[in-house]
Symmetry: C2
Subunit: 271 residues, 2 copies
Amino acid sequence: MDGSDVNIIRHFEKYCELDDDDRTLLTELERHPMTLTAGELLWEEHQAIDAFCLLRKGWAYSYRSMNDGTRQVLDVYLPGDVIGLREFSFQRRLSSVAMLTEASLGRFNHRYLIGLFGSSHRATALFFSMLAGQQALLTERLVNIGRRNAREKLAHFICEMYMRLKRVYPELPQHFHMPLSQQMLADILGLSSVHVSRTFSELREAGLVYRDRNRIEIPDPEALIEATQFSDHYLRERVADHLFESGKPWPETAVAAKGSPVGQGRAADPE
Amino acid sequence: MDGSDVNIIRHFEKYCELDDDDRTLLTELERHPMTLTAGELLWEEHQAIDAFCLLRKGWAYSYRSMNDGTRQVLDVYLPGDVIGLREFSFQRRLSSVAMLTEASLGRFNHRYLIGLFGSSHRATALFFSMLAGQQALLTERLVNIGRRNAREKLAHFICEMYMRLKRVYPELPQHFHMPLSQQMLADILGLSSVHVSRTFSELREAGLVYRDRNRIEIPDPEALIEATQFSDHYLRERVADHLFESGKPWPETAVAAKGSPVGQGRAADPE
DNA sequence: CGGACACTTGATGACACTCAACTAGTGTGG
DNA sequence: CCACACTAGTTGAGTGTCATCAAGTGTCCG
C-alpha cells in the first residue's frame, strides 16, 4: 500500500540518471522535513512566495478558488512530486495547496534551486523534467475537461491515478486507496459532486470500476484502458542519458531548413 | 500592429536580467530561422522529438486531436514564445503544432539547451521561467474551461490575448488582429463553433467586445476586465535579480518548521 | 457567376446542474 | 447504550446550458 515510504532519490532516477554528487546534492531536500495533517494548508493563493516543497510522504493538491465559491483543482501530488515549481518566476502564489492525507515535506528555496543550476546539469535537467512532466499532466487534464463527457472524465482520471501510483509503487495491486472525496473529484474534473456519484454508479454497472469509500478497485485494467482510450505517453518522461555527453549542439550546426517543417518525413513509429 | 518584428533578446529580458554573455548565447537562437506559412504543420503528435523552436514572428498553436474528430487546443504562441519546451523529457511529441499565420522560427535541440544549463545560470533560469509561465497559462485555461460558462470563457480568453499582446507590443491599441476563426476559438475553449458565434453576439450586445472578421475591438478594457473578473497575476512572471547573488540557500539553513505551514502568517498584500 | 468558406440563426435534444429528500456511516455526549 | 448531530453519498425531479443538425447569409476569390 501507499503507507510505505518512497525512496526519493531512487524515484528521481527514473526521470534522469544521476551521479553520486547529484545524489548528495539532492538528499539535502530531505534533511529537515516538516509534517502536516490531512486538510492542512501549505500555502494560499496570493501569498508571497518563499519556498518550494518536495512531497516525501502523503498526498496533496493545489487548487484555485472561484468567486462563486466553487473551485478548480489543478494538480494532485503524490510522493516524490515537487510542489510549487510552476511558481518559480512569480512573486505570489498562483494557487493554494493543501494536504489530502498526513504528509511529510522537504522545503527548499529559489537560491537552492539556482545553486543547483550551477552545480549539476543533471539535477537541473531533473527539475526541468519534473516541471515538463507536470505540464504534460496539465495538458492531458485540459483535454479531459474540455473534450470528454463525465464518464470518460472520471474513468480517465482513475486510469491516470492508477498509472501514476504504479510508477511510484510498482507492486500496486488492482485495488488501491485514493483519498479523494466525490466533491474533490468533482473539483478536479469540472463536474458537480452529484454527477460524480451518478457516474460512479455507471462505471460500477459497466463493471469497470468498483468503489468503496476511498478504496478503488479496477477489476480489469486492460478493459478500463481500452474503454477510455487511455494512453500513458504523457506519463513517460525521462531525460535520455546520451544528451549529457558533449556533442554537436544546434543551432551552431543548424542548416537553414527553410520551409520544411521540423521532423517532417520522420513518421511516427507504430506504437 | 503585430507585423512589426519583436526584439527577442529584449523580450527575454522582461523575464530575467541577462548579461552580455547570456545575450550572445541566446542570439544563436535566431541565426538560422526557417519560415512556415499559415496552416503549415511544425510537427505532429507521436513524432520523434528532435528540436525546440523559438517563435520569432507570427502566431502558432499546439493541439491534441481526439478520436471523434474534435480537438483541443493547448497553447496559442505569440512572438517570443518557445515551442515544445514541455516535451523536454519525452521521446515523442505530446501534441501537434501548426501555424496560424506566416511565421519565422529558430530551432535548437536538447544539447543546446543542456549546454546552456552549463554556460549560464541566468539563461537556465530564463528557460525555466518560460516553462513555468506557460504552465501558468495552462492552469488558468484549465480553470476557464472547467469552471466558467461560455460567455466568461470567451471574454476571459480575449482578455488574456489582449494582455499577452500588450506585453509583446506595449503600444497595442484597443483593437487588434487575432487570427483565430470561431472554430479555432471553439477548440481552444471547449465549445462548439456555433455557440462561439452566439457568445460573440452576446458580448457585442453587452458592448464589451466588437468583432469584425479577425479584428477584435475592446471599447472599454476596464469594463471587460471587471466583467470577467480577470486578473493578470498569472502573466507577470519575472525572475528577481537578487536571487542570483550568492546568498544562504535552503535547505542547508532550514529550520525544521514542524507543523507550521510555509508562509503562514504572511498575509497577501491587498492588491 | 459559382463555389468555398466563415459565420449566423433557429429548432431540438442531451448532458449535466440544482434542489431536495433520503440513507448510511461515524463520532459525541448523556 | 441510545439519541443526536454531522458528513458523505445516493437518488429523483425539474431546469438550463450548450451541442447538434439544418438552413440561410455574406464575403472572398478565381
